[in-house]
Symmetry: C2
Subunit: 133 residues, 2 copies
Amino acid sequence: MGPEDSVSERVLRENLWFYRAFESLDIAEMEQVWAHGDDVTCVHPGWSPLTGWTAVRDSWAAIFSNTTLMQFRITDAQVTAVGECAWVCCTENITSVVNGAVSESKVQATNIFVLRGERWLMMVHHGSPVYRF
Amino acid sequence: MGPEDSVSERVLRENLWFYRAFESLDIAEMEQVWAHGDDVTCVHPGWSPLTGWTAVRDSWAAIFSNTTLMQFRITDAQVTAVGECAWVCCTENITSVVNGAVSESKVQATNIFVLRGERWLMMVHHGSPVYRF
């Protein structure tokens, strides 16, 4: 990440790192992406929200333990940055193997990041099923 | 809205004004709540995202024309503010009459606002169905 990168490029790169961490199915990778405060929120598709890093982390650990493959193709990513806050709205085109079953799905995500030092850390991940195109 | 109000209180109030505008089923009310740029995004539950104020406005007009009653009870609202950006994660407990049919539903929302002058204007509304509690 060089100094020549724009804020939008950096945020989009962090957004892709989140999906690479998801694909890694490694909680240590996911820990690097997120802020770790009481004010982080994660909404997995169809779930009630999880608030605070401990609950969010536990949910990723549970998902990773049931999942053997997760592949994302991210489309229609739109980034907006306002000061030390930025968000990405994007579509996740997902191939997954969960509990032995292969599935293809589409999820709409809103991901909010804040600048902490040199890094844009995830504060909110909100994913939701798409069934009306 | 007095100068004694905290940022969190102001943002939560704007968030409730969004739901009052939704209940009013009046597009002029909804216009007051949103920023009107090309970078606003709206995800209605289960829909693909709509980007830009014209598309977002048209979607509200279409929803309002099919809806005769919309009542929200907002619970579990969590607000975070970072500079001139803020977001609210909240649960919408909804009673609605759409195309003549009464329904009760629960939607999880992430609403992002930016400070423009004295007002916090909506930049993103992402609503998604909740079916795992």
